[in-house]
């Protein structure tokens, strides 16, 4: 199937500063890609290239197989800019109506979207009076006008409280179910893992890692942590495991943590249950944040 977004060897310069180096990235239909990176990594720049707001210094960007500036492409596209702002003097309702007209979206969608993002009660208030989170939600509703097939969300959770963030994730899941392709860019977010298909980690304009979380975990070789508590002879078990070459650490008063590298997890669990009678066991797989930190640190290591 034709990729929705295809970025081939794109380099982007602002004056003398190169902010993207030979970026290659593609997005399949119905896929949710998380684009992660520190401030100034080049996330927003990448989105602007996909939107056709910027012309790549070199390389090629295709969206739905066309040039990004093609009006037909824009029709199929929804965008939530970072720190979205609107006309302060218009109400939320008037704002959405204006943008719906510009996009050629049916007016009936406006009320539905306001409902979806929980702004129905505030719809007739001026945007000037909205909180940051409300503006963000209005921005999201704006991005969803015209049922876009590609959604670009630049730091969508900024300003959202945890519940609104969960609502957003649920909305993303629903859209993905409907076949919408989504690129979500942000700093690393706790809890986002379950809602994306692939993650891309960007630093200083270079793509450090790209793949499904499972693949990235495997590639990174980060350990899964097994934490047990309520052990009778924690010290003995720790000694045994340390002698076998495992990395262990005491965990609380009567607990123990052991790091299981690739494939060791089940074996270690079995030993734990054979030799002990733990009151509780916790298995911690490397989070996106751990992966991110790993990839962020490794180029420095390689340079040494």
């Amino acid at each position: 199937m034709m990729p929705v977004v295809e970025i081939q060897g794109v380099t982007q310069r602002y004056g003398h500063a190169t902010v993207l180096h030979d970026l290659n990235l593609s997005l399949a239909p119905g896929e949710v890609l998380g684009l992660f990176g520190h401030n100034g990594a080049g996330k927003t720049t990448s989105m602007k290239l996909i939107l056709g707001l910027l012309q790549a210094s070199s390389g090629q960007v295709r969206v739905f197989g066309r040039a990004p500036s093609d009006p037909q492409v824009r029709q199929m596209l929804g965008y939530l800019p970072e720190n979205v702002t609107f006309y302060p003097q218009l109400s939320g309702l008037e704002t959405l109506q204006h943008f719906a007209r510009l996009k050629g979206a049916p007016m009936s969608q406006v009320a539905t979207l306001l409902e979806d993002v929980g702004l129905t009660a505030a719809a007739r208030r001026r945007v000037k009076t909205y909180s940051k989170g409300m503006r963000q939600r209005l921005g999201l509703a704006q991005a969803l006008l015209g049922e876009p097939r590609l959604l670009l969300l630049d730091e969508p959770t900024v300003g959202l409280d945890p519940i609104a963030t969960q609502d957003l994730y649920r909305l993303l899941d629903r859209l993905r179910g409907q076949g919408t392709s989504i690129i979500l860019c942000s700093h690393v977010l706790p809890g986002v893992e379950a809602h994306i298909n692939r993650a891309a980690i960007l630093t200083q304009g270079r793509l450090l890692a790209l793949g499904t979380l499972a693949a990235l975990r495997e590639e990174a070789g980060l350990p899964t942590l097994i934490r047990s508590s309520g052990l009778q002879r924690a010290a003995l078990l720790q000694k045994r495991w340390s002698e076998a070459g495992h990395v262990t650490r005491r965990w609380g008063a009567q607990g123990l943590q052991v790091a299981a590298f690739n494939g060791n997890k089940l074996d270690l669990l079995r030993q734990l249950l054979d030799q002990e009678n733990p009151s509780d066991v916790e298995i911690v797989v490397p989070s996106l944040e751990d992966l991110y930190r790993h990839y962020m640190d490794s180029p420095a290591e390689r340079a040494l």
Partner: protein, 276 residues
């Protein structure tokens, strides 16, 4: 067409919402009626004198006001949207930069046109109703021409405002430039011409000088409105030069129209080069 109309609709309803349309119409009506009845007070008369005199006074007034209002209305059209972040959003919508610009022009232009025709139209109506033995056909012709050219003058300065807005990185810069443009066309330009006339003691190419008037839309505007009366008011200032300018009125109209199209095209070109 639809995207342009949708953009225009927002600008127009903004003009209604912030009472611009109402305020400009009222201002025009009050000033026009005031001038019609008090304009001759300087010469010791009170009350309506004549249509040519009234139009002459009104045109002098509108030469100052119309550009100022147009510039104020539109100076932040592009840079304002950029600063508030909405331009970024607009540029990702399925409409081109030309459509954005034209939409704004149609919206702003409609506000100016309506305000002109409502405001000055009221004054015309007042004269028609209250002044005895006024020549209706002359009144309608002179006022119609005055209102049409005033609108065109306003549109020209809308275009200039978009030019400023497209080159400015900040709203305050655009505001400063707008004031400068107003000052230049309304005051400096004519003073410079007069100075040229005086200093050169009339020696500076007498055939060329009157043509220079065409480089100022405000002068073209006044030339049109002062022409065509049997018993015209005595021309003062740079308008006296017009006597040497042997161009048909049609050329003046064309000139005024070019002053609308030219800046608009220039603004489009500049807007297209502006980084998103």
């Amino acid at each position: 067409m639809t995207p342009i109309w949708n953009m225009a609709r927002k600008e127009f309803s903004d003009g209604l919402r912030n009472r611009w349309l109402l305020a400009i119409s009222l201002l025009f009506a009050v000033l026009a009626i005031g001038i019609a009845w008090l304009g001759a007070a300087a010469s010791g008369q009170l009350g309506f004198t004549s249509i040519p005199a009234t139009i002459a006074s009104l045109a002098s007034l509108a030469t100052f006001l119309m550009p100022l209002i147009a510039l104020l209305l539109a100076y932040d059209a592009i840079v304002g949207e950029d600063e508030s972040g909405t331009l970024l959003l607009l540029l990702t919508y399925p409409l081109g930069r030309g459509q954005i610009l034209l939409g704004k022009f149609v919206g702003h232009g409609l506000i100016l046109a309506l305000a002109t025709f409502i405001g000055f139209g009221c004054a015309m109506l007042a004269i028609a109703l209250l002044v005895d033995d006024v020549e209706f056909s002359l009144l309608l012709w002179a006022f119609g021409r005055f209102m049409l050219t005033s609108t065109l003058l306003g549109w020209g300065f809308l275009g200039l405002a978009y030019v400023l807005s497209a080159v400015s990185a900040e709203k305050s810069t655009a505001a400063g430039l707008a004031l400068g443009v107003w000052f230049f066309f309304v005051l400096v330009f004519d003073l410079a011409l007069l100075a040229l006339l005086v200093i050169s003691e009339g020696q500076f190419s007498p055939t060329l000088l009157p043509w220079l008037l065409l480089f100022n839309p405000a002068d073209v505007y006044r030339l049109i409105n002062l022409s065509g009366f049997d018993t015209g008011p005595a021309s003062v200032g740079v308008m006296a030069l017009a006597g040497d300018l042997a161009v048909p009125t049609a050329v003046l109209w064309l000139c005024l129209a070019l002053w609308v199209v030219g800046p608009l095209a220039w603004a489009y070109w500049l807007f297209g080069r502006r980084a998103a």
